[in-house]
């Protein structure tokens, strides 16, 4: 038996003369027909991922490799790279003893702890609350999710107004509650500025955590909950023994995302304090930017970038592993 196949052109119905060496309209043997389909099946995915790969290579892989290379040089970032002086690992050596880098790293650790705990716990709490029978829960979800749509820079500006010592909402609330002694310039004091920024960032990220965890809660099969209830489990027992264990995967994803975001934190800090007052809100990404651009130390800045890249990569690995897992386990 022979199959007759008509292979059409890409944009119209006009038959092409030859595709893959086979004339259109020509009778194909079953072997040829399946061979063509097989080749196309193999090629098609690559064609689809080509644009993304190209962009990823151009804007991520090549600059990353370049950063590794530049970190071994002393270079101002402006003059031709030929003028750069090879310094080996001395940029990395300098980093180890740089008190400002250590200060920025310490601040990043505070970010990491607070910015991971606060949005995740708040997001989880809200997601659990919204599982209860509340009429306006979709509206509430939308309101809580809304800040996620705002850019961090805009959020930074909004929160700078909130923290304004004279006209800020926060101080106004404190004064109205007769807690005037607590009112202060929140961003102007080293002991409060960092936490003030983290709270602003938490405001943005809680919505995203809530949505992911809420989706996770929806994915828990109701029959498991019903079975547990039938066995006499109360709300807290359900939460501890059923809900939280089954939420492990979304929780890991959310925690990993928050850790990565906390390590990358830059824009909101730049918008609110630029690392000040006196480095009290400085973070690694901002330190890196300052070295590479205003101070014209592209080599040193790149060394910071490489360190940051390695830390983020190590942190992101469990996240990447989780999202590439295909099977659900109940």
């Amino acid at each position: 038996m022979r199959l007759k196949v008509k292979l059409k052109g890409y944009m119209g119905n006009k038959p092409k003369k030859k595709i893959n060496g086979i004339k259109s309209g020509k009778a194909l043997s079953p072997y040829h027909f399946f061979h063509v389909i097989k080749i196309r099946k193999k090629i098609t995915p690559y064609i689809f991922i080509f644009p993304a790969t190209l962009i990823f290579m151009t804007f991520v892989i090549i600059p990353t490799v370049q950063a590794f290379r530049i970190s071994l040089f002393q270079w101002n970032g402006i003059s031709p790279f030929q003028t750069a002086q090879y310094v080996g690992l001395s940029n990395y050596q300098e980093l180890i003893s740089d008190r400002l880098f250590i200060n920025a790293a310490k601040n990043n650790v505070i970010w990491l702890v607070m910015f991971t705990l606060l949005p995740v716990l708040l997001g989880l709490g809200i997601a659990l609350l919204l599982e209860l029978d509340i009429k306006v829960k979709n509206l509430l979800k939308s309101i809580i999710f809304l800040p996620t749509a705002i850019s961090l820079v805009v959020a930074g500006v909004i929160w700078s107004f909130v923290y304004d010592p004279d006209f800020g909402v926060l101080n106004a609330i404190l004064k109205s509650m007769e807690l005037e002694f607590l009112a202060r310039g929140w961003l102007g004091r080293s002991e409060t500025a960092l936490f003030a920024i983290i709270i602003a960032a938490t405001w943005i990220s809680t919505g995203m955590c809530m949505v992911i965890l809420s989706a996770g809660l929806k994915g828990i099969p109701p029959e498991i909950m019903e079975a547990a209830r039938a066995d006499g489990a109360n709300y807290w027992q359900l939460l501890r023994h059923i809900t939280l264990p089954l939420l492990t995967r979304p929780l890991v994803i959310v925690v990993a995302l928050m850790i990565i975001n906390s390590l990358k934190s830059f824009d909101i800090v730049y918008a609110m304090t630029r690392g000040g007052p006196f480095y009290s809100t400085d973070v690694i990404a901002l330190f890196m930017y300052r070295q590479a651009f205003p101070f014209l130390r592209a080599g040193y800045g790149s060394a910071v970038a490489v360190i940051l890249f390695i830390i983020i990569l190590l942190t992101a690995l469990p996240y990447i592993r989780r999202i590439t897992e295909r099977t659900a386990e109940y």
Partner: protein
């Protein structure tokens, strides 16, 4: 059949993807082509002035476009905080603006050092011959025996601004000596007023305060040595300077939240009467006229220069804004025309008439200024030396100084820690 339909659908997707890709690359290519080749007759100027200063500067540019209709100006108003980063990134990307206006001479030396600035020696010969500038002004822009910039704006620093009504009400007068000045601060405190205000959040006001007190209490020689790091930052002279400020902070002369406000908020707070004196440059004259048009300069508000200690010579610390043409500018000849115009008297008189500005060009007469600017210009001419501000120090050191002084203003008890940190940073930066 079903499979063939699938194949057809896939082909459609391939075609759509290809078209999208082509469009993307065309857009990208056209963007690159546009940025790579700026049209002739167009000069881009990057500057960090904003608000009323930018308005005045734009009037100068409008006048230029009127006189030279063949050259269009692309105006790039960049926020001061991001200015140097923006320019560095533009140069690195190979798409620099033609003309850059900046105020920190330390940055000029850095950027000249990496060979990115075009020397303007020939233009300077012409300007000096025309009597626009003296040799002293020429020397001040000279780096490695070449003139790499042109002056566009001068401003006095170390000025104490106040509203005249407040002084009248309190029955106090402008102090002429250091002891009169400190007495005034004490008197204001006794009267229940907040004597001083600082917009420490911006950082640079802390640096400006430090510089003025250093000049007034230690003199210009110590200042010059410190800027070149010929004396240490923990030298007794620097320590003494910070001790003066520490004393004022501890006596409550400054407001409580010193780092909570920026310069502009501090300016507004003083005009609302929340403090009596604000240390600033001459630009506050233009700001006040823009914000409060009913207030007459020299009548309703004015300034006095912070007096020097009795045994210290008085010098006026001035900041001077300069223009540079970048070596890789696309339209160098047109850029030179623009720079020549802006450094000339016809352009500078426009801003001088609007206030908050002192023209560096000698051909701009004192009569064009308002009372405050006239006083400021007279002060700059009468002063023994015109100095650059601490902008002479390298960018990295300037950042460290700003941050460490913020720490000091926040907690003056950390004086020694601040000085040692500054010295340690200086050794690292100057030693490179």
């Amino acid at each position: 059949m079903e499979m063939l339909r699938k194949v057809k659908r896939m082909k459609m997707w391939h075609a759509a993807t290809t078209v999208l890709l082509i469009i993307t690359f065309m857009l990208l290519a056209s963007t690159l082509a546009y940025t790579a080749a700026a049209p002739k007759g167009k000069v881009s100027i990057a500057y960090a002035w904003g608000g009323v200063e930018a308005e005045s500067f734009n009037l100068m540019l409008d006048k230029f476009e009127e006189e030279y209709p063949g050259i269009k100006i692309e105006r790039m108003e960049i926020p001061g905080g991001e200015f140097r980063d923006f320019i560095s990134a533009k140069i690195a990307a190979g798409i620099p603006p033609d003309v850059v206006i900046h105020v920190l001479p330390g940055w000029l030396e850095e950027i000249v050092g990496i060979g990115e600035v075009l020397p303007l020696d020939d233009l300077w010969d012409d300007w000096v011959a025309k009597g626009w500038y003296t040799e002293e002004w020429r020397n001040m822009i000279t780096v490695n025996d070449h003139q790499y910039g042109a002056w566009i704006k001068a401003s006095g620093r170390g000025l104490m601004w106040y509203t005249t009504a407040e002084f009248r009400e309190l029955g106090v007068e402008e102090p002429k000596t250091w002891s009169e000045f400190t007495d005034l601060l004490e008197r204001l405190k006794e009267e229940g007023k907040q004597p001083l205000l600082i917009g420490g959040k911006d950082g640079w006001p802390c640096k400006d305060w430090f510089e003025t007190v250093l000049l007034r209490t230690q003199g210009p020689e110590v200042h010059a040595k410190l800027v070149r790091h010929e004396i240490a930052w923990n030298d007794p002279a620097v320590r003494e300077t910070l001790e003066v400020i520490k004393d004022w902070i501890e006596k409550g002369y400054f407001q409580k939240e010193k780092l909570a406000y920026g310069f502009y908020e501090a300016f507004l707070k003083r005009t609302r009467g929340e403090a009596v004196l604000q240390h600033s440059g001459g630009w506050i004259n233009g700001m006040t006229q823009a914000e409060f048009p009913m207030m007459l300069p020299g009548v309703d508000f004015t300034f006095f220069p912070m007096p020097a200690k009795e045994d210290i010579p008085f010098v006026e610390s001035s900041s001077l804004d300069y223009m540079i043409i970048l070596k890789n500018a696309k339209n160098i000849e047109e850029a030179k025309t623009v720079v020549s115009f802006l450094t000339g008297p016809d352009a500078q008189v426009i801003w001088a008439e609007r206030g908050g500005y002192i023209a560096p060009n000698a051909k701009v007469l004192l009569t064009v200024y308002d009372l405050n600017s006239r006083k400021e210009a007279g002060l700059m001419k009468a002063a023994d030396i015109i100095l650059f501000n601490t902008g002479l120090i390298p960018t990295e050191m300037e950042y460290a100084l700003t941050s460490e002084l913020q720490r000091f203003w926040d907690n003056p008890a950390l004086l020694d820690e601040v000085l040692n940190a500054l010295e340690s940073e200086a050794q690292r930066i100057y030693g490179k």
